[in-house]
Every structure is written in structure tokens, then in C-alpha cells.
């Protein structure tokens, strides 16, 4: 599949008084045209920072910020683009949906004003044409009485409706890549399914690629073509969705999958991975997962494993398989 986005050795570090936080540490991945890539992981493992780095939302301050790597989008390195070039790209070629629909819309502007804005800026539509298109978009995301919604303010709509509006705004200019940062986390389950359904429909209709960030494996199973598992700023495992769900290699991925409740299966206690995500300031030269891992070996404590291919369609960063390879 043709590459749309290629992230190569991206690092985003923050320098604080207590030390350097490697929020995203040397990660590489690609998103193909029309592909849905899910990034999963616990809170605080760098998923959102990855997305923000791609969108250029991390402001460099001193030595903090995106410290290395390239982000190629359609052949251009986003990190090298000027402010204006980046601005014309944002909202038209790449767009983003946030987790909290309630706070992502300006409270003093009507839905119509906010929805027509990108259309007028990027598509250069006049007021009337933009309004017409906006009404169509609202109808497309499944909200009835679109004309009336145009004149409403965000506080007059429910969270689910607002997230639909956010999606309408995000897809208004026909982006090639949609970054969705936990788009359904703040919504209840029925709305969640509708939103995901809608995203998938738009993807199929317009050949849009989606980079979906989530901690919900149910969402992953439903949406993803390709899955990336992140832990403490690094990719620990990645692979095509069927392979990864069928045969997770990394103990962390296994743990994540095990800690998901299964319908119809009575469990006394839901599995949870012991321990917590390590303090990003106290990371040492080791596998970052070693103190929570049930298969921890000596090497895990002193050296971090590289991300290596395991089989055709999967990669993992774990010494367990490294050894297997050596012995084989």
C-alpha cells in the first residue's frame, strides 16, 4: 500500500527541572492510503504526544519539543515546513478530532460559524456556498434539522452531537488523513458505536486514512487495519489487527488483551497488569516493562530490546523472541 504518512525515528522530549521526559522516544511507523492505524496503550505512554507532534502542536521551547526524526506526509517533511505551509495543510489535508467534544468548540460561536470557517478558508467558498455545504455536512453526520443546528451554540447540544459536529468540521475539506485522539472516550457506548461507524463510512467513501488513538481494545478490533502498541514512549509491538489479536507476542500486549472483559464469560476478577507505567523521569537502560513483566529475564533489566519482525506481519520489542530467534 502506498504511504501517506511516514513517521521516522520521531522523538519528542521535554526538559524539566527534574530531568528529561522522553514522551515519545524514537518511534517509526507508517500509515498507508485508506488505512486505519490504531495506536493503543495506557494513559501516559505517549499516544497523544505522537499525534500532537504530527500536527505540529508541540511548541519548541529551548531543547524541549520534537527533538529528532522526520514526519513525511505525502513526501514532504512536516517538521521542515514553514508556518504558513503548515497552516494550509492543517484542516484541509490533515485534520484532527479531540477527546472532549464539549470543550473543543468555541462556546461563543454558533455551530454554523465554526463549521463554515475551514470551508471558507481552505476551499475559498463564499458565505452562502459554505453555509450550504455545512448544512449538508451536518446532515451527513446524522443530525436532523441541520438548518436549526447551524444557529445553535455548543452548549445547546449533547456530547454525542458535538462530537458529530467535530467530525463534520474535520472532514469538511476532505482531508487525506484524520487523526482521532480518543474520539469516543467521553461518550457513552451506544453513541460510541455510531461515531465509529460513521468514521468508517467516511473512510470508505473518501479513501481517507485514519490514525486512531485509543486505549479501548474494543474500538481497535472494530476499526483497525494495523495496530501499534505503545508503552512509555516506545513502540513495543505492532502488527496487522488479526495477527495481533490472535497471537500477541509482547507480554504487555497480552496483558492488555487479557485485561479486557469478555462478554458471557464469568470471571471472578478481571485481570490487570500489576504495577504502573514507569515514571518517565526514572527510565533506565532496560526494557521499560521489565518490572511489570511475568517473563522478566536478566537481560531485560540491563538492556532495552529492539523492535524486530516476528513472522511476516508483526513486529515486537521483547527479548523473549530475540532469544527464540537466536536459538532457532
Amino acid at each position: 500500500m502506498e504511504n501517506l504518512l511516514r513517521v521516522n525515528r520521531l522523538s519528542t522530549h521535554f526538559h524539566t527541572d527534574e530531568g528529561t521526559v522522553k514522551a515519545v522516544d524514537d518511534i517509526s511507523f507508517r500509515v498507508g492510503k485508506g488505512e486505519t492505524v490504531c495506536i493503543v496503550g495506557e494513559s501516559g505512554c505517549g499516544k497523544s504526544i505522537t499525534a500532537m507532534s504530527i500536527m505540529g502542536l508541540i511548541q519548541a521551547q529551548g531543547a524541549s519539543g520534537v527533538t529528532g526524526g522526520t514526519i513525511e506526509f505525502g513526501g514532504e517533511d512536516l517538521l521542515k515546513l514553514g508556518k504558513n505551509e503548515l497552516r494550509t495543510l492543517r484542516g484541509s489535508e490533515i485534520s484532527m478530532i479531540f477527546q472532549e467534544p464539549m470543550s473543543s468548540l468555541n462556546p461563543v460561536m454558533t455551530i454554523g460559524e465554526q463549521l463554515t470557517e475551514p470551508l471558507r478558508i481552505h476551499r475559498k467558498l463564499n458565505r452562502k456556498a459554505a453555509a450550504k455545504r455545512a448544512v449538508e455536512l451536518i446532515a451527513q453526520v446524522g443530525i436532523s434539522r441541520p438548518e436549526q443546528i447551524m444557529d445553535s451554540y455548543p452548549h445547546e447540544l449533547s456530547g454525542g452531537m458535538l462530537q458529530r459536529i467535530m467530525i463534520a468540521i474535520a472532514i469538511s475539506c476532505g482531508p487525506k488523513l484524520l487523526i482521532a485522539d480518543e474520539p469516543t472516550t467521553a461518550l457513552d457506548v451506544t453513541i460510541q458505536a455510531q461515531i465509529l461507524d460513521m468514521l468508517r463510512r467516511f473512510k470508505d467513501e473518501s479513501e481517507m486514512s485514519i490514525m486512531l488513538i485509543t486505549h479501548d481494545l474494543g474500538v481497535v478490533a472494530e476499526m483497525a487495519d494495523y495496530v501499534i502498541v505503545m508503552y512509555a514512549g516506545k513502540i513495543v509491538e505492532e502488527g496487522e489487527v488479526e495477527v495481533l489479536f490472535d497471537d500477541p507476542k509482547h507480554p504487555y500486549t497480552r496483558g492488555l488483551l487479557r485485561s479486557k472483559p469478555v462478554l458471557g464469560q464469568l470471571q471472578d476478577e478481571l485481570y490487570s497488569i500489576p504495577g504502573q507505567v514507569p515514571d518517565p523521569l526514572e527510565l533506565t537502560e532496560s526494557c521499560y516493562f521489565h518490572d511489570r513483566c511475568e517473563f522478566c529475564m536478566d537481560i531485560c533489566r540491563v538492556k532495552g530490546p529492539p523492535l524486530r519482525g516476528v513472522g511476516e506481519r508483526q513486529k515486537t520489542a521483547c527479548w523473549l523472541y530475540e532469544e527464540a530467534n537466536v536459538h532457532a
Partner: protein, 307 residues
């Protein structure tokens, strides 16, 4: 895809009500506050009296008349006459024109200046912020009264013609008032610009101008309205102070401040209260009324600042 029926969307007829709901609600709340409305009524009456009143006065030409100097209130001159035989009531109203105009105009100037500079400084931060805020700090470190005196003294020194002094006084007052406004706006701006919807505008590729004027400033309008209202009272008071000390608008143009100044001697004070009571009361009532109204407005528009 099922369609969501508008949970919060009222019927079609209510369309315009939806659009202006915030303002309507504010007006309704304000109407409930009797004190604030009383303030507003007084201010409006004062404006009407000052701007229309003199048209019906036979003494509006401000001519001196030596035969009727210092008369106590009587049927021809309801508030008496001053030492040059001019009708005090007419002069109080004419003075009100100047005082209210100066108050209003300098408010508009200082609010515009303060909002613009505060917004720029909070939005761009960095060097812009440093420059603007250090200038503001400089102006704020000097207490405003001495600062006004310095400017007023310069004004007298440069021999500005009396008919132009009014405009210069407006400028001076706004120059002294903008820093506090700018600080307030900057603070709000700093917090607003970090909100998630502003990140969303970046992601949508909006430029700075649009972000600033279409997204951020509208969020501050309630605050600006409140401060602006309260500022008028302050500006009227400052203008009166300046004129009282002979540093603001000077005779023959009457203002409330210089009318009191003209009566600032023992004889007038003890024997002729009609000379200083009317302008004094006018200042008092106008400023109090504006402040009461402003307080009411704040309760409605900016509940966070409620004391």
C-alpha cells in the same frame, strides 16, 4: 446511520430566540436587579438632561450679566447665578455635556487601547508581551493622580487653547487608564488561548488574525462591557479632579470640576451653596449610578468576578 433527534433543539419558531439566548437571558436577569436598573435610569436621565436640557434654557449663550451676580435660586434662575451672573442650572447641564462626553470618549479610547494591547500581549506572548507589559507596568507604578497632574501641567505649559483642551484631557485619561484594562484582558487571553477549542482552531489551520478576532475576543466581550461601564464613572471622576485643580478643561468652558473650583473660597462655600452643590451632586449621583449599574452588569455578564 440513525439520525439523532435534536435533544436540546427547540421548535422552529424559537430560532431567533436560540440565536440571542445569551443576551436575552442577560437582559432578563438585569431587569430583575432593581438597583442596577435604577442606576441605568439615572444615567440615561442625566445624559438626556445634559444634552437636551440646555436647548430649552434662555441662558444657554453663557453670557455674563453683571447686574445679577451671585443671586440665590429664584424663579428666573432655578439654581441661582454665579459671580458673573450666569445661570447655574444651565451651566451645570452644559458642564455635564463636557464631563459625560469626556468620560465616555476616554472610556472608549482606553478600552480600545487596553483591549487591543492586552489581547496582543496575551496572544503573542514573548517580546510583544514584554514590551507592552513593561510599558503598562511603568504607567501603573506611578499613581494615576500625580501622573494626571504631570500631564495636566504640561498641557497648561504648552498653552493649548481652551477649546481643544477637552480632547487632550480625553487622551490623557485614556493614557492613564489603559494599563489596568490591558492587564485584565491579557490575563484572560493567556487562559483562553490554552483552551482546547483554541488548539482545535490551530488544527483547522486558522491564521492568527482569525483566531484573535473571531475566536478569542468574542469570549471577552462580557468582561469588556463590564469594565467599560465601570470605567466611565472613573473617567468622569478623574476629569472632575483635573478640572478642579485647573489642569483639565478650563474656563470659560464649564465642567463639573471647574465649577466647583470656581466656588472654592470661604465666602462661596459658606454663603452660596448653590454654586458648588449642583455640580458636586451631579458628579456624585452620576458616578454612583454608573457604578451601581456596572456592578449589576457584572453580576449578570461576568458571574465569576462576583464578590
Amino acid at each position: 446511520m440513525s439520525s439523532v433527534s435534536g435533544a436540546a433543539a427547540p421548535g422552529r419558531g424559537a430560532k431567533t430566540a436560540v440565536k440571542s439566548s445569551m443576551w436575552r437571558q442577560s437582559v432578563r436577569l438585569l431587569l430583575k436587579n432593581k438597583l442596577a436598573i435604577a442606576g441605568l435610569v439615572i444615567v440615561v436621565l442625566m445624559f438626556l438632561a445634559c444634552f437636551i436640557g440646555p436647548m430649552f434654557s434662555p441662558y444657554a449663550d453663557n453670557k455674563t450679566n453683571m447686574r445679577i451676580m451671585n443671586r440665590a435660586p429664584n424663579l428666573q434662575h432655578w439654581l441661582g447665578t454665579d459671580k458673573l451672573g450666569r445661570d447655574v442650572l444651565t451651566r451645570v447641564l452644559l458642564a455635564g455635556r463636557i464631563s459625560l462626553t469626556v468620560g465616555l470618549a476616554s472610556m472608549v479610547l482606553s478600552v480600545t487601547l487596553g483591549t487591543l494591547l492586552g489581547a496582543l500581549s496575551g496572544f503573542f506572548r514573548g517580546v510583544v508581551d514584554q514590551v507592552i507589559m513593561r510599558v503598562a507596568d511603568l504607567l501603573l507604578t506611578i499613581p494615576s493622580l500625580p501622573l494626571l497632574f504631570i500631564f495636566g501641567a504640561l498641557l497648561s505649559d504648552w498653552k493649548v487653547p481652551p477649546e481643544n483642551r477637552m480632547y487632550i484631557v480625553m487622551l490623557i485619561l485614556s493614557l492613564v487608564n489603559w494599563p489596568s484594562m490591558a492587564r485584565m484582558i491579557r490575563g484572560q487571553m493567556l487562559s483562553l488561548r490554552e483552551r482546547e477549542f483554541m488548539q482545535a482552531t490551530t488544527v483547522l489551520g486558522l491564521n492568527n488574525k482569525r483566531k484573535l478576532f473571531h475566536h478569542l475576543l468574542p469570549n471577552l466581550i462580557p468582561l469588556i462591557i463590564v469594565i467599560a461601564t465601570l470605567n466611565i464613572g472613573g473617567a468622569i471622576l478623574s476629569e472632575s479632579v483635573l478640572s478642579f485643580f485647573g489642569l483639565g478643561v478650563t474656563a470659560p468652558t464649564p465642567t463639573w470640576g471647574n465649577m466647583i473650583d470656581a466656588a472654592n473660597n470661604l465666602i462661596d462655600f459658606q454663603e452660596r451653596p448653590w454654586l458648588w452643590m449642583p455640580p458636586g451632586l451631579s458628579i456624585f449621583i452620576t458616578v454612583i449610578a454608573i457604578n451601581i449599574f456596572g456592578d449589576g452588569l457584572r453580576d449578570v455578564l461576568d458571574p465569576k468576578q462576583k464578590r
